[in-house]
């Protein structure tokens, strides 16, 4: 016992003797006025823009960040509770730009935008800090997007493929499944060598809790980190949340890894920024948003990128979410974000109510990266699918008026029905690429034409089960080769036909019953 005690005492002595006290000159200010999470502070003569400051209050210290520098005062937003701060309180400049801890420690955790744990799993100890605001990688460091992000959602992977380093907007009304798409995508990243970051901005804490529980249930928290600025947090935290998420992503980017980041949602982010700007007395513009809302989102989304191999070859794929009001995509924020991103997934209430879920509108959804972000096999089977789906909807609307339709149109309608049926997918059941290739091959080659539309759902499910049981080698080959050559196409066709032969008696029976 004695030795350990001596050892500890010795250690403490060593530490103390090794410690050198340094007196640093510090800049201080005094709170002139405070209210609505904004403080005006005098003094602080040599502070920088977006520098961190510390309010010294009776109830401990609170952080703030400098957003306005005026002739003899500074406008500061308070990152936390502003109840304890009084007029005349001391404010200390910390001489560093707003930064948060980053690193592997963030994975599997729920943190607030300042990097403080919210999940009760203990403090996050990281000695690496990244600035929250960072200029996006420049031209020479970048490369065109070419690897796919498999979302596991058939309609997206076939019609609006997303590539690593792309920014794909998810846009639609409330309660239409925007978050569901993002969460399914995160769940499907298991084993795909991808880190995921989910940034919840102004979301209900109950919703975030259920999302985290769902992610944990599917084992997705092993590679996911959640940044949460809840609905009850001040606007300042909502404002920095996406940048904080981006900073965490950039750590992995710098290590050459691929990251997927979901901003849920940027309309609430714009609202939080509007609140701060108006309180700082910046002049309002259209819809009362300040003049720099475009820059607010463009500088954020520009940070997602695909770096070339000289710069590590990492990527950040962004899935920003925008909530529209009654399907109005021509409002200020939606148009801004649509023009910044490399495409959008538009979710439509009509489709949703008809039971087509995910309710992706094939005509209005685009991916500007296109087929460069698909494996060759997928490109082959799903090449014209978006066009076909879009045409089907027009044709179906038109066909309602006329009863006399030629055979070609009828065939198109039948094909279209099956296509839409295939695009239906339940939540939390992402489908692997190989399985997707299988089912898309079945529909495009006409192998599904003799299956009744209401049986497609079941057919698909059983086909996947059949394929894993007796065609695993073919599935593996699709993934490995990435393309469908003649040989493989034949094998796939044989597999599907084999499966159909096991089913046929069922179908025949039913036909006879109907007779």
């Amino acid at each position: 016992m004695n030795t350990t005690k001596d050892f500890i005492v010795e250690q403490i002595k060593q530490q103390i003797s090794g410690y050198k006290a340094k007196i640093k000159e510090q800049t201080i200010g005094e709170v002139l006025e405070i209210g609505d999470g904004i403080a005006r502070v005098s003094g602080l003569s040599d502070t920088m823009m977006s520098e961190m400051v510390e309010f010294d209050t009776a109830e401990g210290s609170v952080l703030g960040v400098v957003l306005n520098l005026e002739e003899d005062s500074a406008g500061i937003v308070i990152l936390g509770e502003c109840q304890g701060i009084k007029e005349g309180d001391k404010v200390m400049a910390l001489k560093k730009i707003l930064e948060i801890p980053v690193g592997e420690e963030m994975i599997g955790r729920v943190v607030n935008p300042l990097g403080i744990a919210l999940d009760g799993k203990g403090e996050i100890k990281s000695n690496k800090f990244y600035p929250i605001e960072k200029i996006a990688p420049g031209v020479i460091t970048r490369e065109s997007v070419k690897q796919p992000v498999q979302t596991g959602i058939k309609a997206i992977d076939a019609m609006v493929p997303i590539g690593r380093g792309q920014r794909e907007l998810i846009i639609g009304d409330r309660q239409i499944g925007k978050t569901a798409i993002a969460i399914d995508t995160i769940i499907n990243q298991k084993g795909q060598n991808m880190k995921c970051i989910y940034v919840a901005i102004g979301q209900k804490e109950s919703k975030v809790a259920s999302i985290v529980a769902k992610l944990e249930e599917h084992g997705a928290m092993a590679y996911t980190s959640v940044v949460l600025a809840g609905a009850s947090d001040p606007a300042s935290l909502a404002y920095i949340a996406p940048y904080a998420g981006s900073a965490i992503a950039e750590y992995f980017l710098d290590k050459g890894e691929d990251v997927l980041i979901v901003y849920d949602d940027l309309s609430k982010h714009a609202v939080a920024y509007r609140e701060i700007s108006l309180l700082l007395r910046r002049p309002p513009g259209r819809e009362a948003y300040p003049g720099d809302v475009f820059y607010l989102h463009s500088r954020l989304l520009e940070r997602s990128c695909k770096l070339n191999s000289d710069f590590g070859g990492g990527s950040i794929t962004a899935l920003p979410i925008i909530e529209t009001q009654a399907g109005d995509v021509s409002a200020y924020i939606p148009t801004n974000v649509i023009s910044i991103t490399d495409g959008q997934i538009y979710l439509e209430p009509d489709l949703f109510n008809q039971g087509n879920r995910p309710a992706i509108n094939a005509g209005l959804s685009v991916s500007r990266v296109g087929s460069a972000a698909q494996i060759k096999a997928m490109k082959k089977v799903a090449g014209k699918m978006r066009l076909e789906a879009a045409q089907y909807r027009e044709l179906a609307a038109f066909a309602q008026f006329g009863s006399d339709l030629d055979d070609e149109t009828l065939a198109k309608l039948e094909r279209g029905k099956r296509l839409l049926e295939i695009f239906k997918q339940d939540q939390y059941v992402p489908i692997s690429v190989a399985n997707q290739v299988l089912i898309f091959y079945a529909v495009t080659s006409g192998l599904l034409d003799n299956i009744p539309v209401d049986k497609i759902d079941k057919f698909e499910e059983e086909l996947f089960r059949y394929a894993t049981n007796s065609g695993q080698d073919i599935l593996d080959e699709i993934v490995k080769k990435g393309e469908l050559n003649k040989d493989l196409t034949k094998k796939v066709e044989v597999l599907i036909n084999d499966f159909k032969s096991t089913l046929d008696y069922l179908i025949k029976e039913e036909i006879e019953e109907n007779k």
Binding site: Q15, I16, E25, Q26, T27, I28, G29, S42, L44, S45
Partner: protein
């Protein structure tokens, strides 16, 4: 045009600067008249605040506040003042000395919006943080 407190203070400084006390007294009387005429007398506190700041800046004067745990002897006090003047490159120093026992030892110097905390309390606090890490 509305004249703000700072402009008044600047104007006052420019008139009063380099005047002797008699003349300055008259100038101030006139200045107050103008304030009354413009209905700006309520701004007098702000004007005085800005005037002091302008005066200090132009004359190279600093206001410092030195806090120590025990009263300082004249030698230490002089040493500290000389150090401050050298550091800030100003000519005159107006200082106030405070005694606070709960800083344990050392001194805290405050001037303008800067603070130099050399108190024992602060050092012990820093040491505590360093050891926790």
């Amino acid at each position: 045009m509305k004249i703000d407190a700072k402009k008044y203070a600047e104007a006052l400084f420019e008139t009063v600067d380099k005047m002797n006390q008699d003349k300055a007294g008259k100038a101030i009387e006139l200045f107050i008249d103008i304030l009354v005429q413009n209905n700006n007398l309520s701004q007098i506190d702000k004007i005085i605040y800005h005037f002091c700041r302008i005066w200090d800046k132009e004359k190279g004067l600093i206001n410092a506040e030195i806090t120590s745990s025990r009263p300082l002897n004249s030698q230490t006090s002089k040493l500290l003042k000389d150090y401050l003047l050298k550091k800030t490159k100003k000519q005159i120093i107006e200082s106030k000395e405070l005694v606070e026992a709960d800083i344990f030892g050392g001194v805290i110097i405050k001037y303008e919006d800067k603070i130099l905390d050399g108190s024992l309390k602060k050092r012990l606090y820093d040491l505590k943080n360093a050891i926790i890490k």
